[in-house]
Every structure is written in C-alpha cells, then in structure tokens.
Amino acid sequence: MQKLHGSTLRLAAAVTLAAAAMSASAAFAEGKYDVGASDTEIKMGHFNPYSGPVSAWGTVGKLQSAFWKKINEEGGINGRKINFISYDDAYSPPKAVEQSRRLVESDQVLGLFNPMGTASNLAIQKYMNGMKVPQIFVSSGAIAFGNPSVYPWTMGWLNYASEGRVYARYLLEQKPDAKVALFYQNDDFGKGFVNGFREALGDKAKTMIVGEASYEISEPTIDSQIVTLKATGADVLFNMSSPKFAAQAIRKLADLNWKPMHFLTSSSAQIGSTLGPAGLENSVGIISTNYYKDSTDPRWKDDPAMQNWNAFMDKYYPEGDKTDTTNVYAYLVSETIAQVLKQAGDDLTRENVMRQAANLQQFSTPLLLPGVTISTSATDYFPIEQLQLIQFNGHTWDFIGGVIDGSAE
C-alpha cells in the first residue's frame, strides 16, 4: 500500500514537473543564460593539483576531462557541449585564488565544479560568494563547505561529521552499553569525525566515552596514546587517524593483544596504504564506511556499472589507473554534476544551477553502493551523507547491516 502510494506520488510529481518544464520552455524558448553558458556551450571551471607533492590527485581532473569528452561525443547535455577548463593549483591556496580568478574573470566560466582541497577552497570561498559564482561539490571533507546561510554559493560533497554520526548510530543500535575510547588527529580532520560522533551519541556521550587521546601530525609515534587508551578499559576504539598513524595504531593494538571493536575512518581504510603495512592479519574485524563501488573488489567484476566504467577507462582514459578508486570517485562526481546541469534545463543562470544543485532528490547512479542515494536541499549542502558500513575479513571488505544516514538531526 505504501509502495503504491509512493509511486502515485512520484507519478504526480513527474506530471507536475513535465508541465512545469513545458511552460518553462514555452516562456524561455531561447533559454536563460549567465556568462559561461549559451545555446551551444556550457563552460565549466575546475582546479586541482597536477603538480607538486600531491599531484597523484590530479587524476580527478584528467578523468573529468575524459568524462566530458565522452558526454560531448554523445551529444552533450540538453544539446549543449561542455567546455571543461581545468587548471593546476599545485595544492597552494594563493595559486588557487589566482586560478579561480582566471576562470571566473578571464575564461568566464559558469561556475567551479568539484575544485579540490580544503585550504584552496577556503581561500576562494569569500571571493566566489562575493562574485555570486557557484562553487559546487568541493572535494574536501571540511564542514565549512556546507553552510548555506553564510555561503549560499558554496556546496560541499561529503563531510567528516556525517561519517562520525554513522558510527555513532550503528553503535547505539548494536552496542548501546559500549565503553568508547576516542583516538584522533588533532586538527579539523580528526575533530570533524569526533564532533559528529559526539553529537549523534547525544546525552549518552558522557557515559559511553571513557577516554580520549589525540596526536599531532609531527609526532613520530602514537604508541603511548594507544597504551593509555587500553588502560581505560574501553571495548570500542574510535580511530580517526590518517594512514600512517592508523597503521601504527593497528600494529600497537596487536602488540598489546587488545581487541576492541575497531572503527577506522574511511580516509585510512585502504588496504594498500594502511592495512597492508599494519599487517592484514592484524586488521581483521576493522569497521569502516564506503559509498561507492571499489574497482579492485572482485565482487563487482560482473557488475554492469563497473563494466561500463571499465569500458570508459579503456576508451577515454587508457593511461588512468583502474586500481585507483579515486577514478571511480571522479566519475561519480561528474555524473552528479551532469545531473545538476540536466535538471537546470534551459535556465542556465548561476542562480538556477545553484538551486538545482540544492535540489537533488534521491539521485542514484549505478556506481554508488546499493541503497546509497544523493540528496540535497536548500538547507542541506552535503550530497553524500548515506554510508554503508564495511568490515575487513582479512582479504576484502564485507558489508555489515544496511545503509546508515549520517545527516544531522
């Protein structure tokens, strides 16, 4: 009955939308445009590090160039070709300001889509909002990019706090009497998770959290923190550390023969950079999260979405590394950007692009894990908040439980 109700609603919505679209296209047969868009073209701006110490992340821009090439060969979006302009900021905030100003003032793009880096994006946030130019799907986990009341022209992608909430909600359901030890990197990264975690635990945070220890990135080892946390008698470890320290922690846990329920941030839950160096046998049982399909996971070998992605990589981006899941992420973001532009229709003003970005309703693409959808609203500027919990079995990750929503309440 409920299902029927849902589909009726959806039908009604579709009819209304279609009617609205028709009247809109009648009213604006020519289309409405801001700089950066016309009847034939949409100019998109982007920057990420192609050079410098983190140039490996430049693969995001390269994949996106390939993605828009594919879209253009298939006829573009609503008949308009995408002109994707991507520059190198070398992960330096002053360079990011220069490149963004060049994109906005000289290249005259419609907006910046998926620009990368917390510091680089913070550096341009005021400028973009002052110019009223969209800065959409910022590639960072910082909470600062989802604050529509202050920065209506800046939209994030995911944030550390919602991942923290997901762990908390799982814990409240599975182990409400847990004694939790917090271990985190002492900056916005580590604290972001901890804040979300505490918030979702609510009043129970006081009784459940029995100990906490943090570290500075400059510290050579974190052994003493782990020893201290073990002494608290905790049976859950909330481990929000970056890969090097996460690997040290996993090793120390094994040395101490301490076997708590172990939550590890998805930023460090990589077999190559963390679990391998720490010892796969020591990593069994670690719980983390993910939201898209891992290109190295044999489970998806025959999955149509993954085959599609593989075919894309072979044809448009053959030099790209198929075992680098960043390339799945970049594809997924591009699909979401394409959806925003499709929704915007012939009204390609900056205002409408922003409005449509904040109007994604349970958007889903096959590269997302089953059950994960993307939703935004005028007050919710984080598209990715639903996460799937995963547990390491010594070789790969198993799903545990269903998808959990990490939105703020």
Binding site: S51, G52, Y91, P93, R101, E105, A119, N186
Partner: protein
Amino acid sequence: MTIERTTALVFLICALAVPAMISGFVTFQLTMLLIYAIAIMGLNLLTGFNGQFSLGHSAFYAIGAYTAAILMDQFGIGYIWTLPAAGLVCFAVGFLFGFPALRLEGTYLALATFGLAVATPQILKLTPLEHWTGGVQGVFVMKPNAPFGLPLTSDQWLYYLTLAAFVLLYVLAKNLVTSRTGRALLAIRENPIAAQSMGINVSLYKTLTFGVSAAYTGIAGALGAIVIQFVAPDSFGFMLSVTFLVGVVVGGIAWLPGAIIGAAFILFVPNFAEDISKGLSGAVYGIIMILLIYVMPSGAGGIVSSALRVLRSR
C-alpha cells in the same frame, strides 16, 4: 646612468598607466608580480649582494603574512599599518636568526635555513597557537576598498599600494647597495677576511643584512595576505623558498631590477608550462629553467649588463 634613469621612468609611467587598460584579473596578477618582486629583492640583498644563501625565505614571507593577518583579524588594526609591523617583526626574527647563521657558510647555511622553511608551516599548525593562527583552517582577511573615495576598484587600489611599496623599497635598496654599507656587503661577499682586516664589522653587517632581507620578504608576505585575503600554513611550503631563489637567479644575482623579471618568470612560466601539457607541467617548467640557465647563466642581469657594455663601447 641616463639609460638606467630613462628605463626607470618609462617603467614607472607604464606601471602607473596600465591598470586603466587591463581587467581586474590581470591587475591582480600584476599585483602578485610586484609582491614576489619585493620578496625576491629581499632575498637578492642577502644572497646576491652579501653572499649568504637562504632556503628559508618562505618562513619570513609566512611570518609577515601571519603578522598582517593576525593584527587585522584579532586586533582590528588597519591594513596599511600591518606592513611596517610585518617588516619590523621579520627584521627582528631575521636579525636574531642571523646570529647562529654567522657560524655557517655556503651549503651549511642553506641547510639551516632549509630547516626554518620546513619547520614553519608545521609550527603554524600547532594547537597552542591555534587561537591566533587558526590552525590548518588559516585566517581570513577582509579585502580593503580604495580610501578617500578614490575612483578605483579594490584590485586597482591594491595594485597602486603594492607599486608604492615596491618603488619605496627599491629606492631604499638601491641607496643601500650603492652606499658605504653596500660596498661593505660586497666586500664581505668577495672575501670576508680581507673585509675584516679593512675594518668592516663582518658579523654586524651579516646579521643586519639578514634582518633587512627578512624585513623585505615579510612586507611582501603581508601584502600577499592582504591581496589573497587568506593565509594558511599550506601557502608557505618549502617550494616557495625555492621559487624565490629561482626568481633571484633568473633575474640576475646582485642586480636589483632583475626582481621584476624574476617575479614575472615565477608567476607566468608555470602557467605557460601548464598550457603546453597538463600532465607534464612540472617537466616542461624544469626544461625551460635548464635552457634558460644554459642560455643566460648569469640571469637577465647578465644579459642586460653585457648589452650595456656593448652599447657603451661604441
């Protein structure tokens, strides 16, 4: 002498006239060019004229930028006043750093200053300082508008402000290097023992030069903070020091006007390299640099001085 004066005059007229003809973005780029030129000039005083190597000028640039940002953000001090403040703070830091540096020469000094460059971004992230520095998140700075109702956009105003700072600092540096002090600096560079036996207080001059050089770079940092409107530790990595050194070498060791050419190189050549190939921008930049050093081993300064020599010999 007349050639130099004429060139300087032409440069100044062009520099004053140019914002009216270009877009806000190019004005912004030229402002950054002048800021880098000030920093390069500072490094040139130390390395070019006094022969002390520094790979640590990104640290002074950072200290200048943070001094300006914190004074504006926490104390509400007007941006103009942050420039001399940044200069004073950096002079003090540079002067003090100059003392231990006295015992070090050549590559050893380069290594010590390298340490300064590597340490600074991490120190800026430290928790006890976070209240002031904002940690990883950095500090936002308000963009100033043109004062006295001048009919200028804020980009143009900042350009003229930076130009004024550049001209003032250039004249000061020019007077410094052509004075008794300047000759003492050169003497120390050429032969410290001979300089000492001629009665030059080597340690005083060396530490003072370190201070003045740091002050120049700090003022550049403060201007950079005002123009970029944001400071964060990641802006001031070790690569920035290397970039300044590239600017000094390309512009010409111990040739002050070279700062403009060096700054133009470090600002525009990476963009040009990126236009050629995105994936290989670093490689293209490197090759351009190698070619340049082969073609003009003594930088733009060397080319200009040999051209002048040819002109004068006629």
